[in-house]
């Protein structure tokens, strides 16, 4: 079957439990509608399609759900990841402090050129805010990564955050392609290219 997209990016959401990662990725949903079946077994990952500068990009987004202690997230989880969203909760100081530990974990286990971005989630909860916006920005500057405050619940900045991360990965990849044209495209897939079963990590998820 012909390829109908230009890039495929694997993204991870990382952060303490309770910071709303699930909501960031898995847009806030009203459980009342849902049968208990899906919420009981839980969601493993999602595929989303976005368009950036005329290119069709498939995002494969994974949440750490259920294994969010640093020591349980190791190399296997990071394998193939091209972007990581580090999420804390602006009402939870501890989750902010832990971002540094998460970054250390990433440096230890993930590929060194993975794109990172810090998100301060729950910015709809300003009355309970424990971490100022400035501190978030400062931390991001310290690590040389981008920063955004988001509200998964109110739908603020969530899509922009994914677009920003995807744009940075795409730019990085295009740079790489430009400087090492002989290496071929790794994960860049040309339209109508015949499907190759062996191509890197493409869709080898299950």
């Amino acid at each position: 079957m012909a390829k109908t997209y230009d890039f495929l990016f694997k993204l991870l959401l990382i952060g303490d439990s309770g910071v709303g990662k699930t909501c960031v990725l898995f847009r806030f949903s009203e459980d009342a509608f849902n049968s208990t079946f899906i919420s009981t077994i839980g969601i493993d990952f999602k595929i989303r399609t976005i368009e950036l500068d005329g290119k069709k990009i498939k995002l494969q987004i994974w949440d750490t759900a259920g294994q969010e202690r640093f020591r349980t997230i190791t190399t296997a989880y990071y394998r193939g990841a091209m972007g990581i969203m580090l999420v804390y909760d602006i009402t939870n100081e501890k989750s902010f402090e832990n971002i540094k530990n998460w970054i250390r974990n990433i440096e230890e286990h993930a590929s060194s050129d993975v794109e990172r971005m810090i998100l301060g989630n729950k910015c709809d909860c300003d009355d309970r805010r424990g971490v100022s916006r400035q501190r978030g920005e400062q931390l991001a500057v310290e690590y040389g990564v981008k920063f955004m405050e988001t509200s998964a619940k109110a739908g603020i900045n969530v899509e922009q955050a994914f677009f920003t991360l995807a744009r940075d990965i795409k730019a990085k990849m295009e740079n790489k392609l430009a400087s090492h044209p002989s290496k071929g495209g790794g994960t860049q897939l040309k339209k109508n290219e015949p499907q190759k079963k062996s191509s890197t990590w493409k869709c080898q998820l299950l």
């Binding site: 898995f26 049968s35 899906i38 919420s39 969601i43 990952f45 595929i47 869709c203």
Partner: protein
């Protein structure tokens, strides 16, 4: 020989030979000549696009899926129905937007990526080339 008037047999199939199950007119109306979906496959609750037109083909297999909606007060999570018409996709990256549940035995259930309603379909982790979306559990636009 196939019966000439398929609608007489809708719902009466035993499913023992999936190739010969008649296709209802409702489903026929969703097909191109090549048996692919002639419209986009969308979430029936939030309209999120699951598959674009032409990206899937009709497959008649029998598979039991737990209910999406709570039908009765004493419904248990595993209660459901056997479905027989599915949109079949050969590569998970063909999906526009979709969620994959954690694995139950060898099954991953598919959900809407936006509102998470589901199961709208399934796949078997032992076969990475077959992903099924239940025709009955999505809308076509």
């Amino acid at each position: 020989m196939e019966p000439s008037n398929p609608e007489d047999h809708v719902g009466s199939s035993t499913g023992e030979n999936s190739n010969q199950m008649p296709i209802s007119d409702d489903v026929k109306a969703l097909l191109t000549d090549a048996r692919t979906n002639n419209k986009s496959v969308c979430c029936e609750r939030c309209d999120s696009v699951v598959l674009k037109a032409g990206d899937a083909s009709l497959s008649q297999v029998e598979f039991f899926l737990p209910h999406m909606k709570k039908k009765t007060e004493n419904q248990r999570p595993g209660d459901g129905e056997t479905l027989r018409e599915f949109w079949l996709v050969g590569d998970m990256c063909t999906f526009e937007n979709v969620g994959f549940s954690n694995t139950v035995e060898t099954t991953k259930y598919l959900t809407c990526a936006d509102c998470e309603v589901g199961p709208i379909g399934w796949c078997d982790v032992r076969d990475r080339t077959k992903f099924y979306v239940a025709v009955d559990r999505v809308s076509h636009k």
